[in-house]
């Protein structure tokens, strides 16, 4: 049985207690996007400032409320994508979901580990790997991925 330490790594609690990039950005030019977790009512609000010329995430600010996992994941995500190109950000999203071993509803051609490797190949998750322990607590996966799904939606809307 996985213990609490697997879930609540020190770095996660640190991001929870001192979230990075908390705040707002003027809309526009920034784009605002919100995500909900219907299970627990967690909310993530992202302000995304994407430079259309360089296709780069110039700035990110986060707001919202929720459990330590969802809030820490949001904070870590904001730190990870700030300054990255949109393509890199999207690759991070895929890599993070692979880390969370997210299966979509599809029943054919499900991931078999090779997929996971492929997604993770060449992507440096850094601190984000601390969230890997969440996989052992299936209910919490949605907490961890909320910020990432919201980011994806935001990128889709600005793209």
């Amino acid at each position: 049985m996985p213990g609490l330490e697997d879930l609540y790594r020190e770095i996660i609690l640190d991001h929870y207690r001192s979230p990075r990039n908390r705040g707002e950005l003027p809309v526009p030019p920034a784009h605002k996007v919100e995500g909900f977790n219907p299970l627990c009512g967690d909310e993530v609000v992202l302000y995304l400032d994407v430079d259309p010329d360089t296709d780069t995430v110039r700035d990110v600010k986060i707001a919202g409320q929720g459990c330590s996992i969802s809030q820490a994941s949001t904070s870590m995500m904001s730190a990870a994508v700030k300054g990255k190109s949109v393509a890199e950000a999207r690759q991070l999203i895929r890599a993070f979901k692979a880390l969370m071993s997210i299966h979509e509803h599809k029943l054919e051609g499900e991931g078999d580990g090779a997929d996971l490797q492929a997604e993770l190949e060449g992507v440096r998750l850094g601190d984000l790997e601390a969230l890997q322990g969440v996989v052992k607590f299936p209910v919490r996966i949605k907490c961890a991925t909320l910020a990432w799904n919201t980011l994806q939606q935001g990128l889709d809307e600005t793209g």
Binding site: P38, L39, H105, K106, L107, E108, P138, V139
Partner: protein, 411 residues
């Protein structure tokens, strides 16, 4: 050739060890509801004894286990009918609710006065009454594909019937006659005129390899209790794009993403259609049932039932060549294992009563298909139906007992 080891299978069904009136139980009413193997009963009992909790709600271990078991069951059932995605597999109360769900949501959102729905004379009330209700409410027209004298669908007038239709509803296997209509052909014909196709697969799924994609259907309904699973649960499979566009059905917990004082946002599929506490243990039993059937192999199940049905048809016709009439096709390639019959001069009810004295359970009545009974011109039939736990000895007991009934009433 034997396809199933029925003697061994019988041992998995505790109720078959029971005696009735001093006779071993010969259960020939599986078309109404099937018996349950220990594997199904134990799966449910074990969940309640070790990891029961409400699903999708708790963070704690047994809630996680229960949620995983529930969703795992969904995956099993979805695979069993070859659904492309678990998002398309909605657990319902039974097949009847599944069809009503389509009638209340898709149909009420899309059908207007003057639109037509095409059904067949073979339909069970579950695929008739929801459409009568809609017809009365909306001024929708219900049209009927008739039956040929040899108990098949009469498709000679199909194009005219489908003209202007928005929905075709067809049973993949008649619970009275055993008839198996050409589902794919009917679905194609419906699609050709822009209509959707709903397949009532309540009798089909338990006895055949089912492939909702090969049918190319839009909605497929079935029940767990007819395929060795528990009561209290059924399933609706539907195309994701359709389900997504449909308004929700029942409102309440689980089916929402957000609720405010002034409105709500529905949840994702499939939960959008699963309001309130789900049939949790029942889903687990449903999953165990399809596991049990998959282990036997649905090809083998179908082959076994064809063989047994042929044996039964033969035995009945040989023993009662003049007094007994069989309602349904005689070619087992074109029919399932529900065999309806009638003695000329004895009411179905009375036959069933006499059979009960010998421990033989058959169904007597209109089988929830009164429109069909009117077409057949009889108020009731006696129906024997077969499943994986039946063998030729069961048929022999049936035939002997029928002979007694004949003697008792006709002297």
């Amino acid at each position: 050739m034997t396809y199933l080891d029925v003697a061994r299978i019988k041992e998995d069904f505790p109720i078959l060890r029971r005696e009735v009136h001093g006779h071993r139980l010969v259960y020939l009413d599986s078309a109404s509801s099937s018996q349950k193997p220990i594997a199904v009963l134990d799966a449910m009992d074990q969940m309640y004894r070790t990891s029961y909790a409400n699903v999708h709600r708790g963070v704690y271990t047994i809630a996680e286990e229960a949620t995983a078991a529930y969703e795992n069951a969904r995956t099993k059932v979805a695979r069993f009918v070859n659904a492309p995605s678990t998002a398309e597999l909605v657990f319902t109360r039974n097949a009847t609710e599944a069809i009503n769900l389509v009638a209340y949501t898709w149909a009420r959102a899309n059908l207007r006065e003057g639109d037509a729905i095409v059904l067949t004379h073979l339909e069970h009330h579950a695929n008739v009454v929801p459409w009568h209700m809609l017809a009365a409410e909306r001024g929708v027209e219900v049209r009927w594909i008739p039956m040929t004298p040899d108990y098949e669908l009469d498709l000679s007038n199909l194009d005219a019937l489908l003209d202007g239709a928005k929905l075709l509803g067809v049973s993949a296997m008649s619970n009275v006659l055993g008839t198996m209509p050409p589902v794919r052909q009917l679905v194609d014909a419906a699609h050709a005129v822009g209509a959707l196709a709903l397949v009532d697969a309540c009798q089909y799924v338990p006895h055949n390899v089912t492939d909702v994609q090969a049918w190319d259907a839009d909605f497929v309904a079935f029940s767990a209790h007819k395929l060795l699973g528990p009561t209290g649960i059924g399933a609706l499979w539907g195309r994701e794009a359709l389900l997504d566009a449909m308004p929700p059905f029942l409102g309440g917990g689980e089916m929402i993403r957000d609720v405010r004082l002034d409105g709500f946002t529905p949840n994702e599929l499939p939960w959008k259609f699963e309001a309130g506490t789900q049939p949790i243990a029942e889903a687990v039993g449903f999953g165990a049932a399809v596991d049990y059937l998959s282990a036997l192999g649905m090809d083998a199940v179908r082959a076994h039932e064809k063989q047994l049905t042929a044996y039964a048809l033969n035995a009945l016709l040989e023993r009662f060549p003049r007094t007994l009439h069989i309602y349904g096709p005689l070619d087992v390639e074109r029919r399932g294992g529900a065999v309806s019959f009638l003695f000329d001069e004895i009411h179905a009810h009375d036959v069933s009563q006499v059979l009960d004295e010998d421990g033989v359970c058959v169904r007597a009545g209109h089988h929830c298909a009164k429109p069909l009974m009117r077409v057949l011109g009889v108020p009731a039939t006696t129906r024997a139906s077969f499943y994986v736990y039946n063998d030729e000895t069961d048929v022999d007991v049936l035939v002997e007992s029928l002979a007694k009934a004949e003697k008792f009433f006709l002297g």
